[in-house]
C-alpha cells in the first residue's frame, strides 16, 4: 500500500478516535438538563459507549473479511457523521419525551445514550479493526501495524477529550461543536475517497 494511502488510513483512524471521545464528553452536557449530572448518568453514558465500541469492533472486524477497500473505510466515517446529525436535530425532542416517561436517572441515561449515541459510536468503532486489515501487509507485520494504528486512534481520542473539554466548550456551543465535527468527518471521508487506490500519485 502506497505511503499516501497508509497516511490516509491513519488519519481516518485518528480522527475517528477524536470523534468518539468528543461525543462522549459532550453527551454528558446534552443529558444533564434532563437527567442531571449524577454519577448514575455518567455510568449510563460510559456503559453505552463501551458497548457500542465493542459491537463496532466486532462488526468492523467481520466486515474487513469481505473485499476491504479504502472506499468502504471512508464510507464508515461518513456514515458515523450522518448518524450524529440526529443528535443535533432531534436530541432535545428525544430527551424531552424520555423525561416524561423514565424517572430513574440510571435507566433514563442508558436509554437516552443508547438512542442518541449508540449508532455513531458503534460505526466509529468499526473503523479501527477495518483499518488494521487495510494496513496489514504480512502476518509478521500485523502486530506492528495494529499497534501503530491503536496508538494513532487512541491518541486521537486523547486529543478529542482535552480539546473538547478545555477549549471547544469555552469557544462554541455544543451544537456548533457537533456540526463542526460532522464537517471535518465529511472532509476527511471525501479526502479518503479522493485518494483511494489507483488514483493516488505513485
Amino acid at each position: 500500500m502506497p505511503t499516501a494511502q497508509r497516511l490516509v488510513v491513519y488519519l481516518v483512524a485518528g480522527w475517528s478516535g477524536y470523534y468518539v471521545m468528543a461525543i462522549e464528553l459532550l453527551s454528558g452536557r446534552i443529558l444533564a438538563p434532563s437527567f442531571g449530572n449524577s454519577i448514575y448518568v455518567w455510568g449510563g453514558i460510559i456503559t453505552v459507549f463501551m458497548v457500542a465500541l465493542s459491537v463496532g469492533y466486532l462488526a468492523g472486524g467481520h466486515l474487513s473479511v469481505f473485499a476491504p477497500t479504502q472506499t468502504k473505510l471512508a464510507g464508515l466515517l461518513l456514515i458515523a457523521a450522518a448518524a450524529t446529525l440526529p443528535i443535533v436535530l432531534f436530541g432535545d425532542a428525544v430527551l424531552d419525551w424520555l423525561f416524561n416517561r423514565v424517572h430513574d436517572p440510571r435507566y433514563a441515561s442508558l436509554i437516552a445514550s443508547s438512542t442518541l449515541f449508540f449508532v455513531p459510536t458503534a460505526v466509529s468503532g468499526m473503523v479501527s479493526p477495518y483499518a488494521v486489515r487495510l494496513l496489514a501487509t504480512s502476518v509478521r507485520a500485523t502486530g506492528r501495524s495494529a499497534g501503530l494504528l491503536f496508538f494513532v486512534s487512541t491518541f486521537g481520542s486523547a486529543a478529542g477529550t482535552i480539546l473538547t473539554s478545555f477549549y471547544m466548550v469555552l469557544w462554541f456551543e455544543v451544537n456548533q461543536i457537533f456540526t463542526g465535527m460532522i464537517a471535518v468527518s465529511a472532509l476527511v471521508g471525501f479526502a479518503a475517497l479522493a485518494l483511494r487506490d489507483g488514483q493516488a500519485p505513485d
Binding site: R29, A32, G36, N37, L170, N175
Partner: protein
C-alpha cells in the same frame, strides 16, 4: 525506569493521602468519601463545620455549638434578605443541603411553611442529620437527586414555590447545568406570584459578568449582594422598592435577630446590580463553561 515509575507512583499516592487527610488543628469527628466528594466534619473554636476539602477555607456549612440557631456564615445571613422581598413564603424550595443550615433556619422562622430540600449526595443528607442537628419537620421533605431534574419535574407537575433558594455550588465546583438560561427559565416557571429566587454564588472571577448577563436575560433587574460570596435576589413581577424592603426588614427584625441577622448590616447591601458589558455572553445549555470561567486567572 521501573524504579522511577514506582517512586513516581508513591509520590502520587502520598499526594492523594494528603488531600484526604483532615484539616489542620481541628478535631475531626467524621470523614467519608461519598459518591461525589470527600466530606469532613470537624470542630474548631466552638464551631462544628462541614468541609469538602481538608482546607478550612472550603467550609460548606458551620454550626455554632453554643447557639445552633445562629447563622455563622455571611452568606447564610445574606440569604435571609430573601424574606425582605417576600416576608412569609408558604412554599420553599432549597436546592443544595450542606449541613442543613438554611432548611433548619426556615423551619424555625416559618414553622408552617412547606419546605422541599434537594441534595444530590445522599451522604451529605446523612451527615447533616447526624452532625448538624438537621431534623426535617412534618412539613419538610428531603429529596436525594439532581436539582435540575427535580426542578424540571416540578415544572411538569405545575408545582409552584414562593421562595426558591439555590445553594448548590460548593467552594470550587459549579454544576454547570444549574447556571444556564434554560435552568433559570425552569426555576422562574416554578415561582408563584411575587415568588423570590435567592442564589448563593461566587463573588470573584470571570464568571461574574456571565452570571449577571444570564440572570438579567431571564429576570431583568436583580439585587446583587456581595461579601465573600455573591447573593443574587430576584422577585417575580418586579423588585420591591427600598421602602417596602425596609418595612419588611423592620417587621422581621425581632424574628431574625436570634439568627444573627442585623438589618443595619444587611439593608445597605441590597442594591440593583448593573454595569457588565452589554456584549457579555449569556450562559445556556448549549454554552455553559462555568467552571472554566470560574477558574482562578
Amino acid at each position: 525506569m521501573g524504579r522511577r515509575l514506582i517512586s513516581g507512583l508513591i509520590g502520587v499516592l502520598a499526594a492523594v493521602a494528603s488531600i484526604a487527610s483532615p484539616p489542620d488543628g481541628a478535631a475531626v469527628l467524621h470523614h467519608e468519601k461519598s459518591l461525589y466528594r470527600n466530606i469532613f466534619v470537624y470542630e474548631e473554636d466552638g464551631l462544628r463545620c462541614m468541609s469538602f476539602s481538608r482546607v478550612t477555607t472550603a467550609r460548606q456549612s458551620c454550626m455554632a455549638l453554643a447557639e445552633p440557631a445562629r447563622l455563622v456564615f455571611n452568606y447564610a445571613r445574606m440569604m435571609m434578605a430573601a424574606l425582605y422581598l417576600n416576608p412569609a413564603p408558604r412554599r420553599i424550595l432549597i436546592l443544595g443541603l450542606g449541613g442543613g443550615t438554611l432548611p433548619s433556619a426556615f423551619q424555625r422562622l416559618l414553622p408552617a411553611a412547606a419546605i422541599d430540600a434537594v441534595e444530590i449526595d445522599p451522604a451529605v443528607v446523612r451527615v447533616a442529620r447526624k452532625y448538624f442537628a438537621f431534623e426535617p419537620s412534618a412539613t419538610t421533605r428531603v429529596f436525594e437527586e439532581d436539582g435540575r431534574v427535580f426542578v424540571k419535574r416540578m415544572q411538569r407537575a405545575n408545582v409552584t414555590y414562593d421562595l426558591v433558594v439555590l445553594d448548590a455550588f460548593d467552594h470550587e465546583y459549579i454544576p454547570e447545568h444549574m447556571l444556564t438560561r434554560e435552568f433559570l427559565l425552569e426555576v422562574k416557571s416554578l415561582l408563584g406570584d411575587r415568588g423570590v429566587l435567592a442564589a448563593n454564588t461566587f463573588s470573584v472571577s470571570k464568571l461574574y459578568q456571565y452570571e449577571s448577563a444570564t440572570y438579567f436575560n431571564v429576570f431583568g433587574d436583580f439585587f446583587g449582594l456581595r461579601q465573600n460570596n455573591r447573593l443574587i435576589l430576584v422577585r417575580l413581577g418586579g423588585l420591591p422598592s427600598k421602602g417596602e424592603i425596609a418595612h419588611n426588614a423592620e417587621l422581621l427584625d425581632a424574628k431574625l435577630a436570634p439568627l444573627g441577622v442585623d438589618r443595619n448590616w444587611l439593608l445597605p447591601q441590597i442594591e440593583i446590580e448593573r454595569g457588565w458589558p452589554a456584549s457579555t455572553r449569556v450562559l445556556t445549555d448549549q454554552y455553559s463553561p462555568s467552571n472554566l470561567l470560574n477558574a482562578p486567572p
